[in-house]
Symmetry: none
Subunit: 129 residues, 4 copies
DNA sequence: GTGGTCTAGACCACC
DNA sequence: GTGGTCTAGACCACA
């Protein structure tokens, strides 16, 4: 399904969240699709079940997935996209840091813009609606 | 000089690093400028000298500043800017995450691009050279 | 595991780094081996956990070890061994100083060469490959 | 005469000592030669007179130079070369560290040996007597 | 005055 | 359990 890097500085549960979001945005995972159970997932990516559970709980809290008692976990149909001012400020601040890091890494403005366009394509042009 | 948020999830020493980079890229701090001493800075931002020291050490490792024994710490000339493939991949991956988060926060592609242009201006058009 | 001299002029954290490198090069520590935890090591060598942590961090930065979140620290596979020009110059300069000091200490050229060969044997002929 | 690097991790006074020893061993400075005064030297290499003084004192303690009251400082005629067991052990230990660092930097055994021979030539074959 | 090292002890996130 | 961060306070070498 995807791979996680236990050596990475970002926590494993966060890596799972990110990967799941990516799969959803790319359309690999569609609304209504059933996710692997916590146990299945934990053996697939070689992680502690508690860690997977934590990721699923957070994804559920964010509304991306839903748990149906006894049936399993599914990709949620409702894509909320609430405009949370606080969240937007955080993202803007993160973007600022990326720009600064990119400058020090010698990356050009155009390169970043190109990457963004590529990613938008990759995401099936999820933006622009 | 700048402010630190001790409640933030990002460690104080990282906040210092980010702020310093920003001051440098904006031209507020110029090559050769003397930084506040570890003790001065620690009292300015109300943090432990060790925490400031950790930030300074990391900035030195990255080549942004240099310390002259017994004299203090100074903004370096930054001759490097070597293209580190690994670093570039990390930045690209971070950008990807930003894009994903932005999508879920309901931010438009154009909005992100506008922010990028604004930041480039703010950074005295450090890019493009 | 090894001993540290708290009276030595070389910092404890550097002594740890050196000893660990030596254990690795001698084959006592093999890739994948788990290192003592920071707390274990600190009680073993009677030093502060922070000091051990500093040594581990530096070893990780150099790529000799890697930490798996919440699981511990392990000897890494060491795929790198990239030829860093700057690093090589530093080593050459250090060698020059050794030669000068050896001359003033009355040590012969042959003696140094013999020591080098002995060490190479001790290191399981790590060189020459 | 020579240059010192205020950014280096090795103290300035030690850098001076090393450079002086190197000049002596290379034959640039010969027994009886007059050294620049502390003030001259400090302005030449842009360092604090106290720092130069500290270096001169240490060199005098080691017997490499001599101060004649009111006349100045001169390269000493007596090259002692006392076989100090403790000093020899220290040098051997330093050599061991160099070998370890060289291994991790990917430098070959032959390369080190070649450097040693080159340096010996540079030192006017000071060794081999 | 400067930064570098170390200790003791605390709290936290992650697994 | 693991390592990561932070504080308070100490001592030292260097310039």
């Amino acid at each position: 399904m995807f791979e996680i890097d236990p050596r990475s500085a970002t926590p494993i549960y966060e890596q799972i969240i990110k990967k799941m979001k990516e799969l959803c945005i790319k359309g690999v995972l569609k609304p209504g699709d059933k996710l692997p159970s916590v146990r299945e997932m934990s053996s697939m990516i070689i992680a502690n079940p508690n860690t997977v559970s934590k990721a699923y709980k957070e994804l559920e809290r964010e509304g991306l997935i839903e748990t149906l008692r006894g049936r399993g976990t599914f990709v949620s149909k409702m894509v909320q996209k609430k405009l949370d001012e606080e969240k937007i400020e955080i993202i803007k601040e993160e973007l600022r840091q990326i720009m600064i890091d990119a400058f020090y890494a010698g990356i050009s403005f155009e390169q970043i813009y190109q990457w963004m366009k590529d990613m938008n394509n990759e995401f099936a042009n999820a933006f622009h609606k």
